[in-house]
């Protein structure tokens, strides 16, 4: 049996990187996916097509900008209109902002928090409301090592990711008796467009603290999300799973 056979999942940030890989692993493990993306690309469309054929699942892309609450709500209403039980919400979408504290404008803070925190709360509110009807579900956020250890030059990003950890813990407490588990994954340095924005020097410095001397791959995170989304983690809630190659 596949790990997520027959489950329905919402995955955000499917356009690229970890989100796209998560969509792929979820489909391969037998889950149907509502794939939230910023905008269509040829690569994404082709990927969805081939995954559907290969895995015998459906994948519905929904395109919108998480900076726009109204657009987000409209997409969520489309999910609701499908009237299907939702088993998993993987909040993958996120943006980064690399700047020192004194160089980070309030505008930057607002922009980062909008995507990395507020929009995720909005989506999670909608989706968990649907999960409550079935009294089961698994919600997963993506935090970051930067939120745990701090990371010079990433104040807005690490603060938003820290807020997610706290929200995850509160939410896990609020939803536990409704059968909904809430956890987060904290990736280390993962090889995606987001980390390619770092300078070589920044990247090397980050790797110094990892025991496993390689960048993490999107698949490393997607596999952890599949585990937390599955019933194989049924006694795990309120936890931060660090997938970071052993950084402290």
């Amino acid at each position: 049996m596949k790990m997520l056979a027959g489950k329905n999942a919402v995955v955000t940030g499917c356009m690229q990187g970890i989100g796209m890989k998560t969509m792929e692993v979820f489909a391969q493990e037998g889950a149907n996916v509502w794939a939230f993306c910023y905008q269509p690309t040829d690569e994404l469309t082709a990927k969805i097509q081939s995954l559907q054929e290969e895995c015998g699942v459906w994948i519905k892309p929904l395109y919108f900008d998480m900076a726009d609450d109204e657009a987000t709500k409209a997409a969520l209403k489309q999910v609701m209109a499908d009237k299907l039980p939702i088993d998993i919400l993987a909040n993958v979408a996120g943006i980064t902002h690399n700047a020192l504290f004194h160089m980070t404008s309030m505008n930057d803070f607002h922009r980062v928090f909008q995507i990395d925190f507020f929009a995720q709360m909005l989506i999670t509110q909608f989706i968990t409301k649907l999960m409550l009807r079935n009294r089961k579900g698994s919600v997963i956020f993506i935090s970051s090592d930067a939120a745990v250890t701090g990371n010079a030059g990433q104040i807005a990003y690490s603060a938003a990711k820290g807020a997610l950890i706290s929200a995850m813990r509160t939410l896990s407490a609020e939803l536990a008796n409704s059968g909904i588990r809430v956890n987060a994954v904290a990736p280390g340095v993962i090889d995606t467009a987001m980390t390619q924005a770092l300078t070589d020097e920044q990247r090397d410095k980050l790797l110094v603290s990892a025991d496993i001397k390689r960048l993490g791959q999107p698949e490393d995170i997607a596999n952890a999300l599949a585990f937390l989304g599955s019933d194989y983690s049924s006694y795990i809630t309120g936890q931060l799973l660090r997938v970071n190659g052993g950084c402290k």
């Binding site: 407490a173 194989y232 006694y235 795990i236 309120g238 190659g245």
Partner: protein, 252 residues
């Protein structure tokens, strides 16, 4: 990768495989296509039957290995037996352990401390040293240690046990750092409370307290701990090392 084939073709060593969480691990690993050296103290009719059934059902080999963790000579012979099979060792689950009769710090004799540490710490390190030595030759391996939330959260009443588990949390991290360059990952699972003989030996009060402290307000099935162990043991966790994963129904 489908979950049931998650450990396909791998070979694992599981200690304390005859009951409790260890038995759940043995069953799950076998069902996931994994061959197992099933370590326990003494042969028994029930265990022999269990092993025979699992082998047949899942087409894997399971080799019982009998030794007491407190007996270095027995341990050495066991390692020899494992080595002589000339199969690669991919996974080590250090599961066997003992608990302590609940008693306050002031009431806990040094003797009790020593005995608990002997099994829960020193024997684990000794055995891990032998086995990771074999893994080092293949430059790959995954070790999963059984910690406990008792070793991470400070609660009163089971100090020797808690301290032994805290020591293992630390051992886990140091081993991870030292063995990483040999391709060996080392992680821990910290269960809250799981339905086993060990949990049943706690006082009713201690059990109820632990249960009440969890968001889920229930005790885990041993299988729910085994699935977490399997994840960490598998290649799906290939970028995780030095971590202690709590499977505690939501406590901290």
């Amino acid at each position: 990768m489908t979950m049931n084939a998650m450990l396909n073709g791998k070979n694992a060593i599981v200690t304390g495989a005859n009951r409790g969480i260890g038995l759940a691990v043995l069953r799950l690993f076998a069902a996931s296509g994994c061959n197992v050296w099933a370590c326990c103290r003494k042969p028994s009719e029930a265990f022999t039957q269990e092993v025979a059934q699992l082998q047949e059902k899942h087409s894997v080999w399971i080799e019982p290995v009998y030794f007491d963790l407190q007996n270095s000579e027995e341990m050495k012979s066991a390692v020899k037996l494992i080595r002589e099979k000339k199969e690669k060792v991919d996974i080590l689950v250090n599961n066997a352990g003992i608990e302590q009769k609940g008693s306050l710090f002031q009431m806990t004799s040094t003797e009790v401390f020593r005995q608990i540490f002997e099994v829960n710490v020193f024997a684990q390190i000794e055995f891990s040293r032998y086995i990771t030595n074999l893994m080092m030759r293949n430059r790959s391996g995954s070790v999963v240690n059984l910690i406990s939330v008792a070793g991470l959260d400070m609660t009163g009443g089971y100090m020797a046990y808690s301290a032994s588990k805290a020591a293992m949390a630390s051992v886990t991290k140091t081993m991870a750092a030292e063995l990483c360059s040999y391709g060996i990952r080392v992680n821990g699972v910290a269960p809250g409370i799981a339905q086993t003989d060990m949990a049943m030996s706690l006082t009713e009060q201690a059990r109820e307290n632990t249960k009440a402290a969890s968001l889920m307000q229930r005790i885990a099935d041993p299988e729910e701990i085994a699935t977490v162990i399997r994840f960490l043991a598998s290649d799906d966790a290939s970028y995780m090392t030095g971590q202690i994963v709590r499977a505690d129904g939501g406590m901290a």
